[in-house]
Each structure stands twice: as structure tokens, then as C-alpha cells.
């Protein structure tokens, strides 16, 4: 399908692509559509939230197609608003690269401060996973080899030890990671 931008090099479940191709707007994405989030994902987010809050009340909750569109449109506007504000935050600090802090500051500015802490936590978890991999056991084994703790924790409390090691490593790595500072590496990033 010409112009079908669902073919991204992002790990997406196959269902998403199939669903996007099956939507009524199966022509090449318009300018406005390209700026929208995949409907399938918005749909899943909405339905999951509803399952959470409405679950246990028996019958399933239905979402009208128009309502789903409203959710998707709202998310799109939110992204634009957040982008523009984050860009302003970045400008204020006289940097060239929009980083996570700019986004978090923007949320404060937009009065979505309640999001900030959960986002920090998520971000840290994401970074930890990036560095240590989902199978933290392998890394903690490699890193802990000479640590006496390791032997004690070995008997069943492995995850706790690796969490502590993660914390130590994280603090060490914060100095070397190109996350918070304006790095030459950031400028090399082409942003694709």
C-alpha cells in the first residue's frame, strides 16, 4: 500500500499493522493522519483503561467509533501541545536537543504535574532495561562476580541483589550516559 506508514522499524504486534490496513481510510495516509497515533493502539489503551475501571460490573463496555476517533484526535492535540511546550522549555535552556527533562518540565507547565513522577519512574525502568537487559540475571552475574554479597543472595534473593547492583551501576552510569547533558553525540543523532 503506497505511503502506508505502518511499516515502521518499531516492534509492533502484527495485529496493529493488519488493523491499520483494514481501516476505512485505507488510502495513503493524509497529512493529518500521519500525525496521528495508530488507531489500534489508542483503541487498546482506551479499552484497557475501561476494563480496569469498569471491570467487575459484568457486561463489557463498548466504545462508539466516533468516541474512539475523539480519543485519537485528543491524543494528537495533546502531543502537539506537549511538543510545542517541550520545545519552548528546550529553547529556554539554550540547548539544541529536546530531552526528557524538557518534556517533564513541559508537563508541569501544562499543569499535568501529576504525570511527572510516574513518568520519571517509567523512564528509569526503561533505561535500566536498556542497559541491563530484560534478563538482569546475566548482567548481575557478570558484574557481581567478585562481590561477596552475590554468594549470600544467590540462595533465592537474586532479584534483590541485582536491583541493588542496578542502583549502583545506574548511579555510576549516569555520569557516562548521554542523557541529561547536551552531548556532541546528540547532535550526531539524525532523528529518523
Amino acid at each position: 500500500m503506497a505511503g502506508d506508514t505502518t511499516k515502521e522499524s518499531e516492534p509492533q504486534p502484527q495485529a496493529t499493522q493488519a488493523q491499520d490496513k483494514a481501516t476505512p481510510a485505507s488510502a495513503p495516509l493524509t497529512e493529518a493522519e500521519v500525525e496521528e497515533l495508530p488507531k489500534a493502539i489508542v483503541r487498546r489503551l482506551v479499552k484497557d483503561k475501561l476494563a480496569h475501571i469498569a471491570g467487575g460490573e459484568g457486561a463489557e463496555v463498548i466504545v462508539n467509533r466516533d468516541a474512539m476517533t475523539a480519543f485519537a484526535e485528543s491524543a494528537r492535540i495533546f502531543i502537539h501541545y506537549l511538543s510545542a511546550t517541550a520545545n519552548d522549555m528546550c529553547k529556554e535552556s539554550k540547548r539544541q536537543t529536546i530531552n526528557a527533562d524538557d518534556v517533564l518540565k513541559a508537563l508541569d507547565e501544562m499543569e499535568f504535574s501529576e504525570f511527572v513522577e510516574p513518568l520519571r519512574t517509567s523512564l528509569q525502568a526503561f533505561i535500566d532495561e536498556l542497559i541491563f537487559g530484560p534478563s538482569d540475571l546475566i548482567f548481575s552475574c557478570a558484574l557481581n562476580f567478585s562481590v561477596p554479597e552475590f554468594r549470600n543472595k544467590n540462595a533465592g534473593k537474586r532479584s534483590e541483589a541485582s536491583k541493588k547492583q542496578k542502583e549502583k551501576r545506574r548511579k555510576l552510569n549516569e555520569e557516562t550516559l548521554p542523557l541529561k547533558e547536551n552531548d556532541p553525540a546528540d547532535d550526531a543523532e539524525n532523528g529518523d
Binding site: 509492533q12 484497557d48 480519543f71 511538543s83 539544541q96 499535568f112 533505561i127 529518523d192
Partner: protein, 112 residues
């Protein structure tokens, strides 16, 4: 002289680590961010670069936003004693929440 950063490749090359089963596509988010930032920065001398972790925060922020909007829309649905969420419920949620003032034009385009 740049010091060796073992994992910098991951950030420079674009972050594609999984961020969860409901992850929004980072590439598209990045595109949207650049477009918005580009428009805003038009007088500024060019579009801004976007760091590796920014789309991640964005993606999660969107999830939280959608969750909050859903929660409020559902409250409106309940008030109407229904089980189906209609566009009007979303409109009500927007109208009743100061935080969602920026959405007021998007949703309420049908007759009230």
C-alpha cells in the same frame, strides 16, 4: 576527545527497545515532535534534535493522558446510565475538566 560510552549506540541509532505491550510507535512520535518543534522553531534557525529518551517519555505521557481522558469520559457515560461511550461523553469530559481546555475545539464540533 569523546570518552567511550558503551551504550551510546543505542541512543544515537534510535531507540527501539520495547517499552511495553501497548507502546506507541516511537518513530511516529518522533516525527510528530519534530513537526511541532519545527513549526514552533521556524524563526529559530531550524528544527530541534530530539534525544533518545524523549519519545519514551512522550509515549508514556500519551498513555497517561488517554487513560485520564478515558476515565472522565466513562464517568460521563455512567451519568447517562449507559454502557457505551459516545463522543458526547468525551466532549463532556473535556468541558468539565479545566486541564483539558486545550481540547475544547477538537471534540465539541457537533451540536450541543
Amino acid at each position: 576527545m569523546r570518552q567511550a560510552r558503551p551504550y551510546s549506540g543505542m541512543f544515537c541509532g534510535g531507540v527501539s527497545a520495547r517499552t511495553g505491550p501497548h507502546a506507541l510507535p516511537l518513530a511516529r512520535i518522533k516525527k510528530i515532535m519534530k513537526r511541532s518543534a519545527g513549526e514552533a522553531a521556524a524563526g529559530d534557525g531550524g528544527a530541534r534534535m530530539i534525544s533518545g529518551e524523549a519519545p519514551v517519555v512522550f509515549s508514556k505521557a500519551c498513555e497517561l493522558f488517554i487513560a485520564e481522558l478515558t476515565r472522565r469520559a466513562w464517568a460521563a457515560t455512567l451519568e447517562g446510565k449507559r454502557r457505551t461511550v459516545h463522543r458526547e461523553d468525551v466532549a463532556d469530559a473535556v468541558r468539565n475538566t479545566d486541564l483539558f481546555d486545550f481540547l475544547v475545539d477538537v471534540v465539541t464540533n457537533d451540536n450541543d
